[in-house]
């Protein structure tokens, strides 16, 4: 990283950087795409419902008025809408949490799980699944246990990574990975000890992520947390820019890097804990979407954050639709699809750009 080379690093000869459209246009297009995708995704299922009908039911519901519930309205509003809405906010939350985690540790290969939070959530969830069982536990027990697990892991990582009033990026990664490994071992132990294949299948499903348990209360809780934290982060986006300059660079620009890092740790912890609690540990979104976004719009977090949120939401809505449909009537864990769709696209964008995202 030192200034040791006078020779400019040039991209591969045939590589053109991806064109950078103006931000308002990009945001408008992505928002329109997302709204369209939500309507389409709600229409897709064992019973196919026309987009026009979906839009009408949603409009009726949101405006508070409407005819008595038809079968279509029931399917749209009770069965599918909570799940698709949850997908929107889970995707946005993972993408934003990934963006923040990468700035926090100054490394584009970080993701929301590098801080050990998901492993904590997994222990909480698996503890419930292997002792009480998913069906007996009631709808809120599992998310609550997962959230508490993430919270405990977050507090542990934060406390262990902090030394002498400082919070160093590298130390944060090391402690996060170490704690993650420890909790991963604990998860495996709990699964093996349970012995029942039924519970093991549920655990595997949870670990790969799924929106199958979506209901309005969970979806709305997730939406509220993701919405509030993302709004706060958008207001603080320039602080992320300053933070990636490192402690001394940040100090030179009037920022206390350790304090900012602490606040961002809290923000990403809240996001990750909430999202993992409702959906399990969905991989790749938090890693791939921020990097893809930087290829599209550059490194300025004032652009990266909103675009990453929208792209994450889009990716997850379609990944979940595919998870419902590919092997219908049985479901696939969504993590399989985010990996299979997100990674090839990301590798393509990376190669086309000619250089790393870093």
């Amino acid at each position: 990283m030192a200034l040791d080379t006078e020779r400019p690093r040039t991209p591969a000869p045939d590589a053109r950087p991806l064109a950078r459209p103006p931000l308002p246009v990009l945001l408008a297009v992505l928002t329109a795409l997302l709204l369209g995708s939500v309507v389409l995704a709600i229409g897709i299922g064992p019973v196919s419902i026309a987009p026009g009908t979906v839009a009408r039911v949603l409009a009726d519901r949101l405006l508070g008025a409407g005819p008595p519930e038809s079968t279509d309205a029931f399917i749209v509003w009770r069965l599918r809408a909570p799940r698709v809405v949850e997908g929107v906010f889970v995707g946005a939350g993972l993408a934003v949490a990934g963006t923040v985690a990468q700035a926090l540790v100054r490394n584009p290969v970080a993701d929301p799980y590098v801080l050990g939070l998901s492993s904590g959530a997994s222990v909480g969830a698996v503890l419930v699944l292997t002792t009480v069982g998913a069906t007996a536990a009631g709808t809120m027990t599992l998310p609550l246990a997962a959230f508490l697990g993430a919270l405990a892991a977050g507090v542990g990582v934060f406390a262990l990574a902090r030394t002498g009033g400082m919070l160093h990026p590298l130390r944060l990664i090391m402690v996060g990975i170490a704690v993650g490994q420890l909790l991963g071992g604990l998860t495996s132990f709990l699964v093996l000890r349970a012995g029942s294949t039924d519970a093991q299948q549920q655990v595997m499903f949870w670990l790969l992520g799924s929106l199958a348990g979506a209901q309005w209360p969970l979806a709305l809780t997730c939406a509220a947390v993701v919405g509030a934290v993302t709004a706060a982060l958008l207001a603080a986006a320039n602080r992320l820019n300053v933070l990636v300059l490192g402690d001394e660079g940040a100090a030179a620009l009037g920022m206390d890097a350790t304090r900012t890092r602490g606040l961002l740790f809290l923000a990403t912890g809240l996001l990750t804990g909430t999202v993992v609690a409702v959906s399990g540990t969905i991989g790749f979104v938090g890693l791939v979407v921020p990097n893809l976004t930087r290829l599209l719009v550059g490194a300025d977090h004032r652009r990266v954050l909103p675009v990453a949120a929208l792209l994450g939401a889009l990716l997850l809505v379609w990944a979940d639709t595919a998870a419902r449909m590919v092997l219908a009537p049985s479901e696939l864990p969504i993590g399989i699809l985010t990996a299979m769709v997100g990674v090839p696209f990301f590798v393509w964008a990376l190669r086309r750009n000619g250089m790393g995202a870093a």
């Binding site: 200034l3 400019p8 320039n238 820019n241 990636v244 490192g246 001394e248 030179a252 009037g254």
Partner: protein
């Protein structure tokens, strides 16, 4: 600076420093590796809290002022400030406005004008939309200088600004900051550059000030032998009359020893 002591470990890297920095002038900080140049500078831009002592900025204790206020007064060109994230040159320079921005960090038209002005002043106008990772070392250093200038500082701190630069770019960086009415403190490795550009030279040795004064009076062969372990001759540049320093290793015997008369 009054009785300043600072360091990373319990053994201070610098101690008992008393210095006055002349306003509007270029003060060069020189000293061998590990003499405490960077440590001293870090206390000035608040990257390292002094263990004891006082840093006064005008009348105010620099470590009691709000951080952002300090960053509006003190601009910094550090040794290594590249994050792993690829900003364009314009974005990198715009970060210099961070201490001036409101709570939402939005750049106003005035900020954008300042950024453009600083890019132009450092000859970076054509580089503005290029990602920093594609720039050469000299170009990057100019971009970082533009960022420091975008802070609109009264005091500019340069921590070895000429490292890794070829001769032309070394001159360029110092020419850009000199005689602009900004007070400059620059840690320099090249004694010749210090002699040539500085209004005042401060020599650090083992964490204390060994000597301070105008280059022509200060950079004597005795001092340089004692502090740096080198032989040196202070000359006058035949073209522009400014002081130059010619250095050679101490092992080479002097003329008298080689030819005993």
């Amino acid at each position: 600076m009054r009785g300043l002591t600072a360091g990373w470990t319990s053994v201070p890297a610098v101690s008992g420093i008393d210095l006055d920095i002349a306003e509007g002038r270029l003060t060069a900080l020189v000293g061998p590796n590990g003499s405490g140049k960077s440590t001293l500078l870090k206390t000035v831009y608040r990257a390292l809290r002094p263990a004891s002592g006082l840093l006064l900025l005008g009348e105010d204790d620099l470590w009691r002022l709000p951080r952002r206020e300090v960053a509006r007064t003190v601009g910094v060109l550090g040794q290594d400030q590249h994050g792993g994230f690829d900003f364009t040159a314009r974005e990198a320079v715009a970060l210099g406005r961070a201490p001036h921005l409101g709570p939402f960090g939005r750049l106003g038209p005035g900020d954008a004008a300042t950024v453009a002005e600083c890019l132009a002043a450092t000859g970076c106008a054509e580089l503005a939309e290029r990602p920093v990772s594609t720039l050469s070392g000299g170009e990057r250093q100019r971009v970082l200088l533009a960022r420091a200038l975008a802070q609109r500082p009264r005091l500019l701190v340069l921590d070895e600004p000429t490292n890794h630069l070829d001769p032309r770019h070394q001159f360029e960086v110092l020419e850009l900051v000199r005689g602009k009415g900004i007070t400059v403190i620059a840690a320099l490795h090249s004694l010749d550059l210090a002699a040539y550009y500085a209004d005042r030279v401060v020599v650090l040795h083992e964490g204390t000030v060994a000597a301070a004064g105008p280059p022509r009076e200060l950079l004597t062969p005795e001092l340089l032998r004692r502090v740096f372990g080198i032989e040196a001759s202070l000359l006058t540049d035949p073209v522009d009359g400014r002081p130059r320093l010619l250095i050679r290793p101490s092992r080479i015997p002097s003329v008298q020893e080689a030819n005993p008369s």
